[in-house]
Amino acid sequence: MTSHSLGRFLDQYRGAGSFLSVCLLLILVMFGLPLFVSTFGLLQVTILAVMSIFALSQGFVWGFAGIMSFGQAGFLGLGAYAYAVAVINYGDSTLAVPISIILSMLFAAVMGYFMFYGRISDAYVGVITLTVSVILFQLINSTSGSQYRIGVVELGGFNGIPAIPPLNLIGDPSRPLDQTGIWYATMGGLLLVYGLLRFILMSRFGRVVVAIRENETRAQLIGYDPRLFKLLAFVTGAGIAGLAGCLYVNWAGYISPGVFALTMSAQAIIFVLVGGLGTLLGPILGAVLIQWLINTIGDQGAVDPGLGLGIILVAFVLLFPKGIVPLVRAAIQQVLTWRKRNVGSPLLADADPLQSGAE
């Protein structure tokens, strides 16, 4: 084993190590927290986990596929409404969960077809996704009255749908989950999504998606169809947002058109931007941090949370466009190199990049 392949092995090992440590941390939080926190506390933490899933959907679509989706809340809302309508109609959540995911994905597929096969520019993708989510909001907002019903469920316009039953054990509607159960389900969902995205990014499909983000023309010349891969990545992200919507309803117990609102999409963007674009840990951290901040500002009531969010968004675009996780990672790396240089031979450390570049 030459020193170079050893380095590569270590790199891979480090990737696996960080993956395993994040998983371990999530599992620890998942099973540890209910031991220390009251049911009310758990309710407040559950929304952080829901928002983390939502942030991961944005983080994947934007950070890895390079698609500027400014309307991710549209899929969150579709998932939420689909779950609500399905679970009330069937009286059982077993089918409602996949329905909420699949409906979001189908909608994204239609939208993505027009956007990616129309070959419109990145900025236009941002504008169209934003516009579609706003119009979905207006559409749902205008459905008050008993003529707007799906099955037995009235959509309820701006009042939304009240009293939505929570998840139940698979195939057994008589045993609904309690607050702790919802917490486990949400954290399980977060783990699953994190693992799935890690797996996708390691797979051939994920590598092509990232390659297209890096250089679309080159990827196309190698023989991959950027339109198709972008579409698939977009649909995947929409499915994750749909799942987040379904879990959001379970947390809230009701649903209103507010889930479609532009501030919701903006939050997802801020989560990713603050945490770190092009990472998976970043969106989770960003979601926890920012959502906690919103709750705190919202509680004291003097200042509108939007003011703080806006300032954070502008500040990060101007000052830290890479976000927290890459910043911290770079800082750690700098400290490590600095120590290595002081301990080992400075010449060797300098020569290292040249060596790997030559192979």
């Binding site: 520019s121 516009t131 706003v134 119009i135 207006q138 806006g310 954070i312 968004l313 675009v317």
Partner: protein, 288 residues
């Protein structure tokens, strides 16, 4: 017959409204390639300026045509100097930053004035088309829209300033070599676009009502129209407004305003699938 007259009047008013909503955004996008997501909030600020000024006893027409553009133009100038100018050439970052501005401005106004709707008394009398009655204010909107488009065209086409603007947008390097400061031109363009947005917000305030979150309702329409119109500011805005305004008003009349917006969006999506660079990206390319 009366009904047809009323519908025709509404269609023309709808087109004019769309022109007004879009023109400030069109100037900034067409000239600087910046997608200003805070456009709706600039309109909101214009409307608020107008309401506050009239409540302080200032004549409504002066508020609409002098104060609102002036105040919002200055705000735009400040925003450009403090934030936007660091992001030129990075279209996605400017979108994010202007989105941040938009959320922040809404939050600021909610914090100061509270999240409620204010109204502005309609200054124009109503008139009748046969048995139907409608407000003369629609004619004001039409006049302002035509005036705004016309003077923008004249400014760009016939004045030295317009020539400098167009030259800078086309070849900033060459313009700089000839002694023009592109930085100053960008600043002026952004302020001009903001001032137009402020005026539009004020003109539409008596019709729409004024609230801190009103901007959202405008940006979707403005974006659809700018995307559909393409690169040419005046022609693009005009043509796209005619297309989308007609569709919006007719469908709104048959169904509801929300369905009208949906129809508009559908048309825009199909249009962009066929003409990815908008109407003037394909036809009338050399127009302004």
């Amino acid at each position: 017959m009366d009904l047809a007259g009323l519908i025709a009047f509404n269609v023309v008013t709808g087109i004019a409204m769309l022109c007004l909503i879009t023109i400030g955004l069109g100037v900034i996008y067409g000239m600087m390639r910046i997608i200003n997501l805070a456009h709706g909030e600039l309109m909101m600020l214009g409307a608020f300026t107008c309401v506050i000024a009239t409540e302080a006893g200032i004549n409504i027409w002066i508020s609409i045509f002098v104060l609102s553009p002036l105040v919002v133009g200055i705000i735009g100038l400040v925003l450009e100097r403090t934030i936007i100018r660091f992001l030129y050439g990075r279209i996605l970052d400017t979108m994010l930053a202007t989105w941040g501005i938009s959320i922040g401005l809404t939050g600021l106004i909610v914090t100061i004035f509270g999240n409620n709707v204010r109204t502005l008394a309609n200054p124009a009398p109503s008139f009748g088309i046969g048995e139907y009655s409608t407000s003369l204010y629609g004619l004001v909107v039409v006049a302002v829209a035509v005036g705004a488009l016309g003077s923008l065209f004249a400014l760009l086409r016939f004045t030295k300033f317009g020539l400098i603007l167009r030259a800078t947008m086309e070849r900033p390097g060459m313009a700089a070599a000839l002694g023009i400061k592109p930085d100053t031109v960008y600043m002026a363009t952004f302020a001009l676009g903001s001032a137009l947005a402020g005026m539009a917000g004020a003109v539409l305030a008596p019709i729409s009502g004024v609230s801190p979150v009103m901007g959202v309702a405008y940006i979707t329409r403005a974006f659809i129209t700018v995307l559909g119109g393409g690169a040419a500011i005046v022609t693009g805005t005009g043509l796209a407004s005619m297309l989308f305004g007609t569709i919006d008003e007719l469908v709104s009349f048959k169904a509801s305003p929300v369905i009208g917006s949906v129809a508009m969006l559908m048309t825009a999506v199909v249009l962009i699938r066929i003409l990815p660079t908008g109407i003037t990206g394909r036809f009338l390319r050399r127009s302004l």
